[in-house]
């Protein structure tokens, strides 16, 4: 015997999301469990995220701790998320894009060399690369969809940044991983021509272990 109730996250009032609870199965929005609006409370807008704590960095020397709608259900439809990024000495958050968000970043600790590349320009112009060295307290903007990175040039000290993104689910595409580490791999014929290298260079690249920095 099925029972049903219609529920709506408070935050969802801003958008157009509806759903059904069936039997004892949880109701979900964008894949996340929703609650009866009568039961929504402050915890639905809260995350004990430990953004003050250093993280172990990955093989390229960074770690992105993103607090998006997967961590805070109340963010759904509200168009924003926040992240802490740790950089090991000489570590980098490698070239990537956010398909659905602009990013604004401020440096909490250390120094960062950051940059982004513009869209293709009319020939004979090439994509422009804009870069900057950021010190503590500086702010930089990475426009939506453009390839960008951050690099900690200090060989001895880590760096830390707080970044905010203009979507509750910005997505991230690490370029090297998406191009050379996809499952299944992209045809090496295609990539060899696109990157103007021998196929065995592509094969070598595709044989590496591609660890996603963040998602």
């Amino acid at each position: 015997m099925a029972t049903s109730s219609s529920i709506l996250l408070l935050a969802a009032l801003l958008a157009l999301v509806s759903w059904q609870a069936i039997a004892s199965d949880p109701v979900r929005v964008n894949g996340f469990v929703c609650k009866n609006p009568m039961e929504v409370n402050a915890d639905d807008f809260f995350k004990a995220a430990n953004l003050d704590k250093p993280r172990v960095t990955n093989k390229v020397g960074s770690n992105v701790t993103l607090i998006n709608v997967m961590q805070i259900a109340g963010l759904n439809t509200l168009g924003i998320s926040i992240a802490r990024i740790d950089y090991a000495p000489l570590g980098q958050n490698p070239p990537h894009t956010h398909p659905r968000a602009t990013e604004i970043l401020t440096v909490l600790e250390g120094t960062l060399y950051v940059g982004f590349v513009t869209s293709n320009q009319p020939a004979p112009n090439r994509n422009k690369f804009f870069s900057k060295v950021l010190n503590k307290g500086d702010v930089f903007v990475f426009p939506v969809g453009l390839i960008h990175f951050q690099f900690n040039p200090n060989p001895h000290q880590p760096a830390v940044a707080i970044a905010a993104l203009s979507s509750q689910n910005p997505g991230a595409i690490t370029i090297a991983n998406a191009v050379f580490g996809s499952d299944p791999p992209i045809s090496d014929d295609v990539l060899a021509k696109a990157f103007q290298v021998e196929k065995n260079t592509i094969d070598y690249l595709q044989a590496q272990f591609w660890e996603n920095n963040h998602n």
Copy 2:
């Protein structure tokens, strides 16, 4: 003799911005100077904002340093901004709304008691107040347009937060200031009835000095 050239901030490609350069007058978008796109560079996406530095707090014990489109022209149309908020011991960022943005906040230093009030509910329900004590590294969300505040309950230690807002020009309306400190003042007849107090209470309130916490 007027000369003219049409220029476009790189970021403005995302929207619908128009302009004119005239003689030696600078061109502006939303009131801010624009540059010839051939002359756009990394500095247009950068601000040496000193967000790592403590600020002197105002009479209610807080200080909001907002980096929006007025500080970084390249933010125009990109839908995000970032702020550092300083709280003196027992200081507060008093009840306010952002008419055009949701806010996400993380605590860098100290402790914050934060909360927001929901929209009016069907009678006999009253506006719900959601609150939470945040420690370092915690994250909290204030949905667009809702009245919210942060308060530092510690009588001895300051607190610091980083907040991001989902607009390059979110606006802020400090409730007490807007209601009791506007120029010219709102009729005390209207406010006395709305707030269920004597007119002389309103007059007293309107006679205070209302310093805007942030804009």
Copy 3:
């Protein structure tokens, strides 16, 4: 035994709403019952709202009869709603905001003194208060998210207005109610400092009966 069918309100074609009918439980969008599109008819876009009839006003002397998506399911996703507002002699629709809508209003009967307060301005400027006396047939606009009110200055005659809002679910936040009448109450320490009054003034305010004018 559960049966299921997928249904779609005609109006919802404009957006991204989906749901499930289960057993005999009604299907809902934003909490409201939906119908099989084959069964959608003119009644889904209609409300016998009696907007021509005077209403009994509340303790501040007004009554807002809002026809939004809760009254007309077909409004879902269409971004508009309409209201009749009754004002007793000397009655007011007290200072409030709509977090998700601009309002446009025309006076049907009587006279209204109306106004709104702008966002915080750069110091030393204060929030500007824009006001106007409206006569029958006049039109006034209250921009999204700004604090505004209407007051009937006539001690003998009621007033009536028709207002439209740019959302099917605009929300309303009556400032005094949200600040002093929330459930649970906001800390009186916080409010005393924010409003520059003694705590017992806040306690007095919080002890009043806060009747929501409209939602």
Copy 4:
């Protein structure tokens, strides 16, 4: 000698509009004069529109008095407008669409027979016609882009309605006028086949005087 100043209507803060004043020429947004934001005042959100006054109706027996961004500059970017519609006995606001707005309407005086036609349906279904007789105080919704009309079935009494539209510049396309009264005319070959009539019927139609009900 050119002087220049950058100005921004308060309401335009919500969007992305900028411009330049040059010499003594007025600055315009969407073709309408803008003001220095320091000079914006309540009048920029106001129109003495006389919406309480009956209008002389046109040859099909109606008159639409639309208050949009052309009448109230402060409406720019705010996404709403309002109209009074007068109907002579047996008068109609003939079949038309708004390419950029949904409409919500309430009857102030008299009776209206109203309706709209849905988009094309999968064959063999035809476009559905939804209609309703509205009495004073009733509310009806016409979804964006759909063909709709209002007709006053009373041979002796006029009718009056207030309508609101979800755009500050909704546009209107009176079907008969646009199809048969355009300048220059559409090819009668095309129209004869589309409407399944003889070309001379089209020619007859195109020879009529097509007075636009509203714009």
Copy 5:
């Protein structure tokens, strides 16, 4: 006994769509079956649409083969669709509007006489008719919501076009069909006055067989 799983189309990450699978009933978004995101694959973004193949044209000499979200589930929320249009010699895609999309069209074969009519203009101006003869390889734009048509002026050769629309569900309203062929019919009193013809002309028109060109 009901089982449930929450699923999300990859494409839906861009928006806010959620749903529930119940028992063996398929889950739907906007009425179309969704899949577990773990099971999403290239086929969800693919349609063997045979857009290279000529179509049998209808009684006005055209055939629109639209590939929208009904044919490619992965299009949901992505805001685009594509169509092949076949024109018999002297055939036409009769005057129609898309309530939710702008159209851009290029001619693959033959010649097309195309046009659209603007919104109502301030009196005494009439709706402007913009037309053009398109040859193979030419491109033309029909702005959202405006009445437009294409006509093949060649009495011997067919024509073919590819059109794209700025919505995954643009809708189409064939003017003659919606006005004269709706179910049930619009009152002939209303239409006679609107079109300035005798009621029996309307009755004649309404008695025709109105085949929808496309939906």
Copy 6:
């Protein structure tokens, strides 16, 4: 002596664009010349684009002829553009993204092997690669911001496709060009680590000639 007039492209009625003509300098929106609305005509929505004609392909064997707002001023704000893509035998439109548009594509001639890579997935999952072989008349969708490509696997025959994009100014970022061919180059230290290769491999790559396929 400066003269000025305010002008508005018909299409711009849909958005919020304004500007000023000064002296004899043309007025521009997004960098393109605008016209007095009284002078707007069918040519502002038209381009003799020769999309039926084969193009000479570039060094990776493709050529994208995009008709966007730079070719058709009337497209401004309307959110769509169209392209013809030529593929030499074994040619490719190399991996790229559109930061502001989804793409839908249909094959006119030949065969295409197409694919896109999803956003980063939660570890240990890798970015998924979705691919498909398209024959004449098939349709495929590339969601906004995702890396995608098309490849003509036929060693003897060219291929041709028509693609539409959900923006009047979609932008394009060819991955290899943006990463290895930017001006100035990205630090080879950063790229060597990101791509897990020796610096001299990066140096070799950066020394190639990077011809932009399209912009």
